[in-house]
């Protein structure tokens, strides 16, 4: 696991000029260029092959040809054919509008992806071959190639730094203008094609050749033809196909039924009824909803490996969150000094100060600041030798020589410093444990300070909980998600922070193996787990998690193990992804419910029109008082066609997800989309009928 310290922004002076804006990230739904692309797509998708992908719309497609034939037949027999032709035109329009919805979603997704990709076109790469450097087009790079990038160069492909350190401008991808540090051998060794090196020189091993980078994969996911349907989309598709079959039976049998009654129903009207009854609204919008879900992920700067990953995010039950960066701001700050009995507080503060003067970490700097604030100041001793923190010793400190003799100050984890005290021949006073435990219970990390063989006391380093995070967890709890904080802290500290931040549970002193074990345990219980990670040692857990969101700044191993990559490397992104996943599912359910509920009104519009010739008494069922049988049928078909574009904005933006319990969410959505779907068409069909009445 990484230390969680994000690459710090460079000071403003060294910033390059702002890069050209990578295009408006959220273009309007009906922006003209998108509209043009969608219109072209709606015609291009008329091929039978494209239509056959969507069984519901395929029925409308076939129905259009049937009514066209019936029109021709009427014309050939010298009967009036205007009604037949109008129905044919409206059915064709229905097919086109469904194509248009899908085309528009695709166009938006592609525009989003293209703006990311534009940065990397026509890039030349400086490839290293046997130590020699040659310039080749970026498109020729293969996985495993080594390339060199120096300040000012665009990095031509995704890769991992194998040598060097550089500041990189990733604004083309993340929109964040502050440069970040990328360095070989750390958890921040990954670079993305299209980003620019600002300083220094790095050697990068290409991890994805042309056409297989994350972006290329993402683009494929928003393109209709190659888009793979997600499991839930497939199941919903089967349900819709089943409903279509049921309604096909209901309408086809009407012909013999009405023939028996002595006045066979007009086949054109039967086709119109069929098209109105089958769930064309959701059938037409289903592909668009799926694509829009991917697109929303892309807008959040998350690249998903598959549509399934986004869908699964809606189902997540448990969230594993790294404490640092997600729950707390990256750095712990010194908040208190607690001397041992008999130790002058000033001695403790002075020792802590001295040992931290050259400590570059934020923790070290905060100790200096706190000591000075409390009136202790000491100049840096001459010849002081700073001892850096290392994972082995888990201590840092300073050595210097005074006239009184050599001084060696160390500060570090309680147990290690106590060991050191014993090594130096000092007794460890029992009060020390009391002090450190009290600090830990308060959520702070105790840093015990020792000067030569004298234990002085402890410095409390406290985590700073991110503002608003508690409310966020409260929301998550209402959504039914359990949050688990992952931290390297000891259990006492972890418990205190967990309490303060409002997480449901925590995993203290967590190793990557613990994390993996925890994920497996939750999954055995039937729960879905989401986590975010960046380090190579996170890779197994990322791969095991149902939603593994890798930070783009992370190592290549982590990025390949996860099923999504966050270009912003923002630890709170996981929450956004879950909302996107839920929004995607809600949109599907809401529009399906709406579509099915619409049928009631359509029945009342068309049935009287269909039967009134055979049984004039059935005019009594014309509850909407529609003008004539023909106007009733046409009004229903017009409504059926136009509701598709009317709902396109909803399908593309998604039904907003509000964090609340499932019951209240269900009640709300049923009211809006169920009851609304029941009532709206009555009004809309009546209005349409009034509008078209003058034509009769």
């Amino acid at each position: 696991m990484s230390a969680g310290v994000r690459a710090a922004p460079l000071p403003p002076a060294s910033r390059p000029p702002e890069p050209p804006a990578s295009g408006d990230r959220k273009p309007g739904i009906f922006a003209p260029p998108l509209l043009r692309a969608a219109l072209v797509a709606s015609v291009r998708k008329l091929s039978p092959r494209a239509q056959a992908r969507n069984p519901v719309m395929f029925v409308v497609y076939v129905g259009t040809f049937v009514t066209l034939l019936l029109t021709a037949q009427a014309a050939a027999q010298g009967r009036p054919w205007a009604y037949e032709l109008t129905v044919t035109a409206l059915l064709a329009l229905t097919v086109l509008l469904a194509n248009f919805a899908e085309g528009l979603a695709e166009a938006r997704g592609k525009a989003q992806a293209a703006s990311l990709r534009s940065a990397r076109e026509d890039v030349t790469a400086r490839r290293l071959t046997d130590g020699r450097e040659e310039t080749v087009p970026g498109a020729l790079l293969r996985r495993g190639d080594l390339i060199v990038a120096e300040s000012g160069d665009l990095i031509p492909a995704d890769g991992e730094i194998v040598e060097g350190l550089a500041s990189v401008d990733e604004s083309a991808i993340t929109g964040e203008s502050a440069p970040v540090i990328r360095e070989a051998g750390t958890d921040h060794s990954g670079v993305t094609g299209g980003t620019r090196v600002l300083s220094d020189r790095i050697v990068v091993r290409v991890t994805s050749g042309a056409g297989e980078s994350f972006l290329d994969r993402m683009i494929a996911l928003v393109e209709g033809a190659s888009r793979q349907k997600t499991p839930n989309e497939i199941a919903l598709g089967i349900l819709l196909s089943g409903l279509t079959l049921v309604f096909l039976l209901a309408t086809v049998t009407l012909y013999p039924f009405t023939a028996y009654a002595g006045a066979p129903a007009a086949p054109v009207t039967l086709v119109a009824l069929l098209v109105c009854l089958i769930p064309t609204t959701i059938g037409g919008l289903l592909p668009a909803i799926g694509i829009a879900g991917m697109d929303r992920a892309l807008q959040a700067n998350v690249i998903a490996g598959s549509g399934k990953a986004v869908e699964v995010a809606g189902d997540v039950d448990v969230l594993l969150l790294d404490k640092t960066g997600t729950i707390t701001v990256g750095n712990r700050l010194a908040t208190d000094f607690r001397p041992l009995p008999g130790v002058d507080p000033a001695d403790l503060m002075r020792a802590a100060l001295l040992s931290s003067l050259q400590d570059p970490t934020p923790e070290g700097r905060s100790i200096v600041a706190l000591a000075r604030e409390r009136g202790v100041n000491a100049p840096e001793p001459a010849g002081a030798e700073f001892v850096e923190f290392s994972a082995q010793t888990r201590m840092s400190g300073v050595d210097f020589v005074t006239p009184a003799g050599p001084v060696s100050i160390r500060k570090g984890a309680g147990s290690r410093v106590a060991d050191l005290a014993r090594e130096r021949g000092a007794a460890v006073p029992p009060e020390l444990t009391g002090i450190t435990d009290a600090m830990a219970r308060g959520g702070a990390t105790p840093l015990v300070v020792i000067e030569n063989s004298r234990l002085l006391g402890a410095v409390a380093l406290s985590d700073v909980i991110k503002p608003g995070i508690r409310d966020r967890f409260e929301q998550l709890r209402r959504m039914g998600l359990r949050t688990v904080m992952i931290t390297g802290d000891n259990p006492l500290t972890a418990a205190a922070i967990a309490r303060e931040a409002g997480v449901d549970s925590f995993l203290a002193e967590a190793t990557p193996e613990d994390k993996l074990a925890m994920i497996r345990e939750e999954q055995r219980g039937g729960r879905l787990v989401a986590m975010m990670g960046d380090g190579t040692n996170d890779a197994p857990a990322l791969a095991q998690a149902d939603v593994g969101l890798a930070m783009n700044s992370g190592t290549q191993a982590a990025r390949e193990a996860g099923n999504m990559v966050d270009l912003d490397s923002d630890p709170t992104k996981l929450l956004e992804i879950i909302e996107i996943g839920k929004g995607l599912l809600i949109t599907r359910g809401a529009l399906t419910t709406f579509s099915v509920a619409n049928d009631v009104a359509k029945y009342f519009a068309i049935l009287p029109a269909l039967f009134v010739t055979a049984y004039p008494d059935l005019g009594a069922l014309n509850v909407m008082r529609l003008h004539s049988p023909a106007s009733a049928v046409l009004s229903a078909v017009i409504f059926n066609a136009l509701i598709i574009p009317a709902l396109v904005p909803l399908a593309l933006r998604g039904v907003p997800y509000r964090p609340m319990s499932a019951s209240s969410l269900l009640g709300r959505n049923l009211l809006v989309y169920g009851l609304g779907g029941l009532l709206l068409p009555f009004v809309a069909i009546k209005v349409t009928d009034l509008l078209i009445t003058p034509l009769f």
Partner: protein
């Protein structure tokens, strides 16, 4: 459009009393059923039966094995019954020397009783010997009903998922339901019926002198014992041609109420047993509540339609009003001792619980009253008969879960199990079975001249007769609308197919769904998961049931009873 005449207080009180008693019986009988489905011990007669059948009661069955056993068991019974009916001239107890039924009729009869439809295309006393009646019909009254309950038990165990992918043992379920439920209950009910005057004798007939001085031979027989299992097992095939309208089958209002209670007893209690099996009684009550609401609405509509009377009869001078001396309403085809209220209750119950026995001629119900009976059978899940109703209702629960589950932002889960493509496919197959069979065969029948020859009425009413026949057959109800000569090769063949479609094309896919769900990992419930045990969800399921299940039939119903009704209002007589 409903007539404005309201039923009398007495009528409503009677109905409410019966419904109240029925509701009170749900818990004790539900407990009994739960015990039958879960008990570990086998009684001595049961062990003996297993030994005779050479089956191992401890053998666990997954859904495939369970379904295969059920189908093979039914198939063997079907073949044996067909053979017995065809061979009856050469078999004993055929004093009247009745000839064998024709192959189509024998097929229809055998299928009808095997599927618990009890559709009778023939008149019993003129067509079947005593041996055929006993060996085929009476046996099936127990086994076909028990088959349905066994399937329901397996289905519920699968959904409860208490035993992995195993759904139980078919032979154990079948045997226990017969021994522990049907036999004791039928015995008790038969005693009450005998007390009320239902004959139970082996003497064939009584000869009586009528007031006109003529001699009349009155048929008797072991009626009470048949009546009790007929209704407990929601079978419906009567001892007499007039079925429960006959004074020996149903002599008093009390026996009428008892018949109604018997029909509702097991289907209603099954919801409670389901709740217990799931260890979620709320879920059982929500299902009960949804079914009960639909039933109450149907009953109310039926009652109002019949109480409203028939304007054509009114115009002819009949007094159909509620007065101190009469209950009023449309009395055509009804028994005076039951009146409108008890008839409406019986008609609503027999079509809800898919029994198929009748205490009045449904052909003579008002068109809207007939519509109610049709709708209940088309849904076949307003309680429904012998366990099948619960299975059918679950189709709509799963459909609702799919829609509602998405709307809470999760992929759909039902009882902690994910509903995925395979389950949806099977559920849709089951949902398709009813429209396919009802609408498909009706379309065929109104197209073929040979089939149209069976109609006694033209126009909308004739259409209703055909629609009713296939609805009744598909729902395994068995009641006839009358007015249709169904004993023709065409109807015998097609209604037989409709009965098979209605039973196995819903039962087998849903058993598979239960098996698939049983094998899945349970997702623990949280506040983000959709709760299916709430009133809101029950209401949603009813809406889905009406929109997906009933709306499909709206065009057909419009051309049948609705047109009939509108024509009646205008005074047209058919």
């Amino acid at each position: 459009m409903l007539p404005a005449v309201l039923p009398g207080v007495g009528a409503v009180t009677q109905l409410l009393a019966v419904l109240a008693v029925s509701a009170l019986l749900v818990v004790p009988v539900g407990r009994l059923l739960h015990g039958v489905f879960t008990g570990a011990r086998h009684t001595a007669p049961e062990r003996l039966t297993y030994r005779l059948l050479r089956v191992n009661p401890a053998e666990p069955m997954d859904w495939r094995r369970y379904a295969l056993t059920l189908v093979l068991c039914n198939l063997v019974m079907l073949l044996v019954s067909y053979a017995l009916i065809r061979l009856q001239p050469w078999l004993p107890w055929n004093p009247a020397g009745l000839a064998a039924q024709t192959p189509e009729l024998a097929w229809n009869t055998a299928v009808s009783f095997m599927t618990n439809t009890n559709w009778q295309a023939y008149s019993g006393e003129q067509s079947l010997s005593y041996f055929s009646q006993m060996a085929v019909l009476t046996t099936f009254m127990f086994t076909s009903a028990a088959t349905g309950f066994a399937a329901a038990a397996a289905f519920m165990r699968g959904l409860a998922g208490t035993n992995g992918a195993q759904l139980g043992n078919f032979w154990v379920d079948l045997t226990r339901i017969v021994y522990r439920v049907f036999l004791p209950l039928s015995f008790a009910v038969a005693l009450i019926l005998i007390w009320q005057g239902v004959p139970q004798t082996l003497n064939a007939t009584v000869t009586a002198q009528t007031l006109q001085g003529e001699t009349q031979r009155i048929a008797l027989g072991p009626v009470a014992s048949l009546e009790s299992i007929k209704h407990l097992g929601t079978n419906g095939g009567g001892f007499f041609g007039m079925n429960a309208a006959h004074p020996f089958e149903n002599p008093t209002p009390l026996t009428n109420a008892l018949h109604v209670l018997c029909m509702l007893l097991l289907p209603t209690s099954l919801t409670y047993a389901f709740g217990r099996l799931l260890a979620n009684r709320r879920q059982g009550w929500v299902i009960f509540g949804a079914m009960f609401t639909l039933f109450a609405v149907s009953l109310g509509a039926l009652l109002l339609a019949e109480q409203g009377g028939n304007p054509v009869l009114g115009a002819a001078g009949a007094d159909q009003s509620v007065t101190a001396t009469q209950a009023g309403g449309n009395m055509e085809g009804k028994e005076v001792r039951f009146g409108v209220a008890q008839t409406a209750l019986f008609a609503a119950t027999t079509t809800a619980a898919t029994t198929g026995s009748v205490n009045a001629m449904h052909d003579s119900l008002t068109p809207l009253g007939g519509l109610v009976t049709l709708v209940q059978m088309m849904l076949n899940s307003v309680f429904g008969g012998k366990g099948v109703g619960l299975i059918n209702f679950t189709q709509y629960l799963i459909l609702s879960v799919f829609l509602a589950g998405l709307m809470v932002g999760r992929t759909p889960e039902f009882l902690g199990k994910k509903i995925e493509a395979r389950e949806v496919k099977l559920v849709m197959l089951a949902v398709l079975a009813h429209p396919l069979s009802i609408l498909g065969f009706t379309a065929l029948a109104v197209t073929l001249p040979a089939a149209l020859g069976s109609l006694n009425n033209p126009g909308a009413h004739g259409f209703t007769e055909v629609l009713y026949a296939y609805t009744s057959a598909t729902a395994n109800n068995g009641s006839a609308f009358a007015g249709l000569n169904a004993n023709t090769p065409f109807y015998n063949l097609t209604t037989g197919l409709a009965m098979l479609t209605g039973r196995y094309l819903t039962l087998l896919p849903m058993l598979a769904v239960a098996g698939l769900l049983a094998a899945k990992t349970r997702v623990p419930a949280g506040s983000g998961t959709l709760r299916t045990d709430t009133a809101l969800f029950g209401g949603l399921t009813v809406a889905v049931l009406l929109i997906v299940g009933a709306l499909t039939f709206l065009p057909a119903l419009t051309l049948g009873p609705v047109t009939d009704h509108l024509q009646m209002l205008k005074g047209a007589v058919q």
